[in-house]
Symmetry: C2
Subunit: 299 residues, 2 copies
């Protein structure tokens, strides 16, 4: 997992592109082509998503260290969607990009162990199968440590990582996460647990393989969490479309400007829709948006 | 969703069979047959799971109203596993059983809307596709109402349901869920929210389409929650293998002995392994175990 941190250093870019395609986002000509070829069905949508994602990946692979496909967007289209999810991961990995599977799984111990196959792979009669191939995944902490431990075990075995939801970027994250208990919020209690769990799986660059999701929309909270969890790497959603900006995020980083990877989804992958000059050139628009984001994050 | 409640009444059996197959659980002859036919790979495991589940379904369909496949067990085997999950749902539905997809999804609003396709289906160019076909799914509340609302909307449109995690059955559920805030635990706060959200989607039998997961391993808590949430239908995991018994559950039901469906997984589907007399007769053992559970729940 240190390879992601190194890649961020080399590219001087703590950005991850969220590959969250929707049917509405697809260029008209691509839609027409795939519907023509496969019919108006989930298979066509899956093929669009693959083509669309490959265009994005090809256009940013040399400037962005990672991609984060959101599996919900693919699950929406059933088995054909999941095929597109898997092909996207495979393609990005081959290009040398780190892949964060935004799957937000979480369950009791034995079930969490099954989900941990996402990063740990599966064994059948002594033979190993790496069927999902995510380098990192996101995990929900509501069930407590026995639902987390199986992921930690796989992180250690495979040098992969997880990001545990601490403070999410959405407006109603406050409903549960901000409940105050003895002058500490629930998300701070979760943060303490995540920091503690993380000590079981330290990398070599000062950060643990057990990371945290901390929304860009919560400036003060992010700063406070950085101080509370000096060895916890942050995945930061909510930049751009959801409202966070580069200067809001200064305090999420450590003094060496490390410790975070910031996600942008629509702001990059649907950038072509915001300026007529791009026409249907999804890749060029994505690259320009990614470069603008990189510049915004260099404080 | 009232159809599940009615089916429970007719069968006089508030039981759901958890279809959580593992490779270790498969009968030796079935394993040998499928490995021979497909090779030692995920496809073979998927085929085993389908055959195994069909045997269980065939043997309990007239005495048990519902099945609950746990998607993690299938995701473990990648796309082939998910195919088995889908074929299991399709088969159980055709047999007239209600299907609870134990998927514990949960995300921010737009993403939750994509996950809601599990119960709501997907539209492509005006055409509807019901790709997952679960009647109910489980949902994680850590992100608050904007991550729940899309599921409620689909419940209303399709008369399907969700069970939101309130108090899970695992030992470390206490770590986060039992934190005390002003004399109320976090799970009680979640329970209040779930009860409130549930009023948006009432069925005709006194219960809401927005249900709650309440672990059988927490007797007093279950009784208290039943009083707090008189219109919330409970999915109760943790019976049997995890330690809950019939008498522990009296207080989870309402005065008419309604309001719950109790899950057993290994205790039913792996029952054949507990008594030599069954040999590899998975179905017969499952039926006997299901009948014993039904008897245990008739207080």
């Amino acid at each position: 997992m240190d390879s992601l941190l190194k890649k961020i250093d080399v590219m001087k870019n703590p950005t991850v592109v969220g590959l969250d395609p929707t049917l509405e986002m697809m260029p008209a000509s691509m839609k027409a082509e795939m519907f023509e070829k496969y019919g108006k069905n989930p298979e066509a949508v899956g093929k669009m998503f693959i083509k669309f994602n490959k265009e994005i990946i090809d256009s940013v692979e040399d400037i962005v260290p990672a991609v984060k496909p959101q599996i919900a967007m693919y699950e929406k289209y059933g088995i054909e969607g999941i095929k597109a999810y898997l092909e996207t991961i495979e393609y990005a990995s081959k290009k040398g990009m780190a892949v964060i599977g935004d799957i937000k799984r979480g369950d009791i111990s034995s079930t969490a162990a099954a989900y941990a196959a996402h990063i740990g792979g599966t064994e059948i009669e002594g033979q190993a199968f790496d069927l999902w191939k995510e380098d990192w995944i996101t995990v929900n902490p509501y069930l407590g440590i026995d639902g987390i431990q199986p992921f930690i075990d796989e992180c250690n075995k495979k040098d992969r990582g997880v990001f545990i939801l601490v403070k999410t970027s959405n407006p109603s994250s406050s409903q549960l996460q901000d409940i105050l208990v003895n002058e500490k919020t629930i998300y701070e209690r979760v943060a303490e647990l995540v920091a503690e769990w993380g000590m079981q799986s330290m990398g070599t660059m000062g950060y643990s393989r057990i990371g945290a999701v901390v929304g860009a929309t919560h400036k003060e909270q992010g700063e406070k969490l950085r101080k509370m969890m000096p060895h916890t790497f942050f995945l930061v959603p909510g930049y751009g479309a959801q409202g966070g900006t580069g200067t809001d995020l200064e305090g999420f980083f450590d003094k060496d400007k490390r410790g975070c990877i910031v996600n942008s989804s629509r702001g990059i992958i649907a950038a072509y829709k915001k300026n007529d000059k791009y026409g249907e050139n999804v890749g060029e628009a994505a690259r320009d948006a990614a470069l603008a984001m990189k510049a915004d994050l260099q404080y």
